[in-house]
Subunit: 168 residues, 2 copies
Amino acid sequence: MKLAEAKEQFIQSWGVLGSQWGINRTMAQVHALLLVASTPLSTDDIMLQLSISRGNANMNVRELMDWNLVNKVIVPGDRKEYFIAEKDIWKVATYIMQQRKKRELDPMVKVLNQLSDVEEDKKDPEVKAFTQAIENIKKFAGQADKTMDMMIKAEENWFWSNFLKLFK
Amino acid sequence: MKLAEAKEQFIQSWGVLGSQWGINRTMAQVHALLLVASTPLSTDDIMLQLSISRGNANMNVRELMDWNLVNKVIVPGDRKEYFIAEKDIWKVATYIMQQRKKRELDPMVKVLNQLSDVEEDKKDPEVKAFTQAIENIKKFAGQADKTMDMMIKAEENWFWSNFLKLFK
DNA sequence: TTTAATTTTCAAAAAGTTTTGAAAATTCAG
DNA sequence: CTGAATTTTCAAAACTTTTTGAAAATTAAA
């Protein structure tokens, strides 16, 4: 396989994977493009390589920066902005987890907490069953929360960083 | 808060969370409805409670069964089919992981493996950088794979089941 | 200051996804 | 078998999300 072909293939697959996990396909493709780029790319480069409009390119690069996955690079003597992706894939994963936890999981946990107090006959098996179901989900969410925090902090944590190396 | 109101709220939020993670909102709502139902529900119950069409209800229940999250229940002397959700939330999580790994992550890993051999000057820094990037992603995917398998098998595994209890 | 390059915005169009509902297929009691 | 109850299918409609592209805003060199 040729390099250009391999890059193309990677970008497509990364896009598909992203869209299956609720990430805009183009955003995932821009991310993939920057991940395998050997130099920083401008908006024009991105437009050209992915055949997308300026607005689309701009929007998705901006969102990738919100996610901390992409950074702006200034090239002296050049008006254009260039972009570069975080290449340490472990960092990429923790940034994504961090953001999704904050944006999506935390609001769900907040709702779950509000649902705990059903102000009705607490002897009613209907009520009991519901409260129990919610409690279980909350307990699980709490665990997942801790696991994520643990992984996010793993790099700064001797025990975990060494422990996880066992699985590499 | 009243029970009915709390259920409603839970169903809505579960639907939103699902759609953020690439799961059809209605499918997530049907799942939520069955999760907090105190008895098995028929297609008509689901249609009525979520205000959706028969086709939609049928389709999403069927897909939830494909995911192993919902099972059919036969009520003797009743022609209708009834449905019940897996209520052990740890099992729910592992089923989902299992399926998504198989359907979405494994195909990505397969593509990554094909991308490893770029038949071009392996001294070219361009080629080297790409190969390195792909290798890193593969290494990470391998880790993630192992972690998932580990969690999926955790229940059958003394060490992990006890270890994970530390975080409850 | 200009002014030209560049980035951002956003309404409208295109594309993609989900839902409906009625017809077809299936099931099963009598 | 027959026929009523139930489930499944799927083309068309509704809805949602993404993309475009040109105009407005911003930036910085001259």
